[in-house]
């Protein structure tokens, strides 16, 4: 009886397909399976939504648990290079050995703290620059004529067609001592000695801002493009000069775009490894680099896992707070 209630809605299909479907639905295995699934609470809708959950479970939660597990193990020489958490004796659980020493080390060792703080600083400053550069660009694209809009958007997305790594390498050629910029400046006679740009923090910022700018522009664009322009006319009509209108109307209304763009830049920038490795100074303290060194140079898997877990927590807390704030706002919006 449930089966009938949950029968899929019939869409317009060619007669042949419909005939086959009708036939299949009458077959006992179909009805039996459907009845079983419904009894377990698995309707068509839950099955469809289950797909992304299953994906996240398989490729996010399971690896996360493995990493979490390793972070509580002890490093040792062997394969795998860490001790097991659970000891089994005669098929029953003998002991659980949780090793908190790795986390203790991490808290005591100022190297990690400095790396985290520096990563956050670099990511925050880069995000700010992305916002300062990306906002006017997104604004200009959103207000451009519709024929131009698509071309401009395309140009923002175009760099993605080249490998990220290649684009970072290209910056080496631009920034190095006998690179494009220095050669040009020396040719014009503005400088006599090349300016050292490569392998400085400046190069890291340039690399991150350049690489992540599209992630700032796209959400901002989609927000600004949807904005009701009569609101701006209304503000002007009520006596607000253009800049005041921007501050009081456009900026507050584009806040969701600013937040989304900033998150999309800030989060990957914190864990960035390639850019500081290729463009930054060799002693640059970024958590991504530290992680790589601990993992590959020191071959200390538990420590590396602990660094990763700490990084995750560091990023999850602001995201959860943000989501709560947005949910509260959404509740307010629909009261």
């Amino acid at each position: 009886m449930n089966a009938r209630a949950e029968a899929p809605r019939r869409h317009r299909q060619s007669a042949g397909v419909q005939l086959i479907l009708d036939f299949l639905q009458r077959l006992p295995p179909y009805r039996w399976t459907q009845a079983r699934l419904v009894r377990w609470g698995l309707t068509g809708r839950t099955l469809v939504t289950a797909v992304p959950y299953f994906w996240l479970l398989l490729f996010f939660l399971v690896p996360f648990i493995i990493v979490l597990k390793i972070s509580f193990a002890e490093a040792r020489i062997g394969i795998p290079p860490y001790s097991p958490l659970l000891n089994w004796v005669d098929g029953s659980l003998a002991q659980i050995r949780l090793n908190f020493a790795t986390f203790q080390n991490m808290i005591q060792d100022s190297l990690y703290w400095k790396a985290y703080l520096n990563s956050i600083k670099v990511a925050a400053v880069s995000t700010l620059f992305c916002l300062l550069i990306g906002y006017p660009m997104a604004y200009a694209i959103a207000r451009a004529q519709s024929t131009w809009r698509h071309i401009l958007l395309m140009m923002v997305i175009l760099p993605f067609w080249t490998s990220f790594l290649l684009r970072v390498y290209a910056w080496i050629g631009i920034l190095k001592n006998n690179g494009l910029i220095n050669n040009f400046l020396m040719w014009t006679g503005l400088i006599e000695q090349p300016i050292v740009m490569l392998q400085t923090d400046f190069a890291i910022y340039v690399g991150i801002v350049y690489s992540y700018l599209p992630f700032m522009i796209l959400p901002l664009y989609s927000n600004l493009e949807k904005m009701d322009l009569t609101l701006l006319e209304a503000a002007a009509d009520l006596g607000a000069k253009p800049f005041k209108t921007f501050l009081t109307i456009t900026l507050p209304l584009s806040m969701p775009g600013i937040v989304a763009g900033s998150m999309l830049v800030f989060i990957p920038a914190v864990g960035e490894f390639v850019i500081p490795e290729l463009l930054g100074p060799s002693d640059s303290l970024m958590i991504g680099k530290v992680l790589w060194q601990v993992f590959f140079t020191k071959r200390d898997w538990p420590a590396a896992c602990a660094v990763a877990i700490a990084l995750l927590l560091l990023l999850v807390i602001p995201i959860v707070m943000l989501q709560r704030a947005q949910a509260a706002e959404a509740r307010g919006a629909h009261r």
Binding site: D228, T230, A235, D237, L238, G239, A240, L253
Partner: protein
């Protein structure tokens, strides 16, 4: 039919050649590329008027309004407000406020903040902003909603916030773009009268854009009927309804029966038209200026035609026909009567008595007649 909400204005300022217009639109043309949205429009609107720009969609009425607000610049021609040339004066410096069709309330601000916005831009002192916003919210009866956001309000409440916001700066001229368009019928009728009261109370000059002729009739002191970027006729609601100057206006405002015919008698005090469509002659008790033998149209409103079962004793202004449709609308009935020429005439009769004689029924032969003052002779 629509009734005018305001008492008959005795002193018609627009008939006084000495009067100085508050808004003077002087030969204004607006083109968008090749498209002429507003074509050589000249208009004079006087202080404390409630002027309606009436027309179908795309007739240029909104463009004209937007030029008054300063959102569009005329391609040629000038606009003067209170004697000042508005060319190159941006919207934020004009002594004008606008109520938008979509209301354009700022969604991130409360009702109070929305209303206070304009005053803040002018640097009005905080305590004064507070009292003026309070007064305005009281006027539109929204005090208890001051802390709500626009999305927490109903359509009618939003409309009143928009009105309060555009009135709080005490503009000399208020522009309203389809102010009642988003409201349902009952609320609209109610709000029409409120708007007129408010306008008279505050003494503000209103320019209203609408496509709804009933709304225009109810609200305005004068109506400007627009079509294809041009002003076709300007006049009081009564002028426009009773003395349309063209077939377009006659047909646009209310319903009308149009009889084509030839002028056979053209005297200063009367004319007679021979109409094949009618199958008879139309006698009009006022003169018209037209060439003899010209082909003209006589427009007669449905409510001015009397329907009867016996032939009235008059030679002119009579027609015979067969009842094709009867629609009972409660307050009145509509009859569609087909003449011998095939022309269908629309007649409306008020249902004065509850048991209005069901004497006239379908497929019955009836006589139509009207007074000699009723037809309007139109040549274009």
């Amino acid at each position: 039919m629509a009734t005018n909400a305001r008492p008959q204005q005795q002193l018609a300022v627009w008939n006084d050649p000495q009067a100085v217009p508050y808004v003077h639109i002087d030969r204004v043309t607006k083109k968008f590329g090749d498209f002429v949205a507003v074509n050589n429009v000249s208009l004079k609107i006087y202080k404390k008027e409630l002027f309606c720009l009436l027309g179908g969609s795309g007739c240029g009425k909104t463009t004209l309004l937007r030029m008054l607000a300063g959102f569009e610049e005329p391609t040629s021609g000038k606009i003067f407000i209170d004697g000042v040339d508005m060319t190159n004066i941006p919207p934020y410096e004009r002594p004008v406020n606008m109520m938008f069709q979509s209301y354009a309330l700022f969604p991130h601000m409360t009702v109070e903040q929305n209303v206070a916005f304009g005053l803040k831009q002018d640097g009005v002192a905080k305590h004064e902003i507070r009292t003026r916003v309070d007064d305005m919210l009281k006027l539109v009866r929204l005090q208890q909603f001051a802390q709500r956001k626009p999305h927490q309000l109903s359509g009618g409440q939003r409309q009143r916030v928009a009105l309060a916001r555009s009135l709080v700066k005490r503009p000399k001229l208020l522009l309203l773009d389809e102010p009642l368009g988003a409201l349902d019928k009952k609320l609209r009728e109610h709000t029409q009268f409120e708007l007129v009261n408010l306008q008279e109370q505050l003494g503000v000059t209103f320019v209203v854009v609408t496509h709804d002729q009933e709304e225009a009739m109810t609200l305005s002191t004068r109506i400007g009927v627009m079509n294809a970027g041009e002003i076709i006729q300007v006049g009081t609601p009564k002028d426009i309804y009773e003395y349309p100057n063209s077939k377009f206006v006659a047909e646009f405002i209310g319903n009308v029966n149009m009889f084509e015919g030839r002028l056979i008698e053209d005297e200063p005090d009367h004319v007679r038209i021979d109409s094949a469509e009618l199958g008879g002659t139309i006698f009009v008790d006022h003169g018209v200026s037209s060439a003899p033998d010209a082909v003209v149209a006589a427009a007669i409103r449905p409510e001015k035609i009397i329907i009867s079962l016996e032939r009235p004793e008059q030679a002119d202004n009579v027609a015979q026909g067969i009842v094709k449709e009867i629609a009972y609308l409660g307050d009145m009935s509509v009859y569609l009567v087909q003449l011998a020429s095939g022309k269908v005439v629309r007649i409306t009769q008020p249902n004065t008595y509850r048991h209005a004689e069901a004497s006239i029924t379908w497929d019955q032969t009836v006589y139509l007649s009207w007074h000699a003052s009723s037809p309007v002779v139109l040549s274009e």
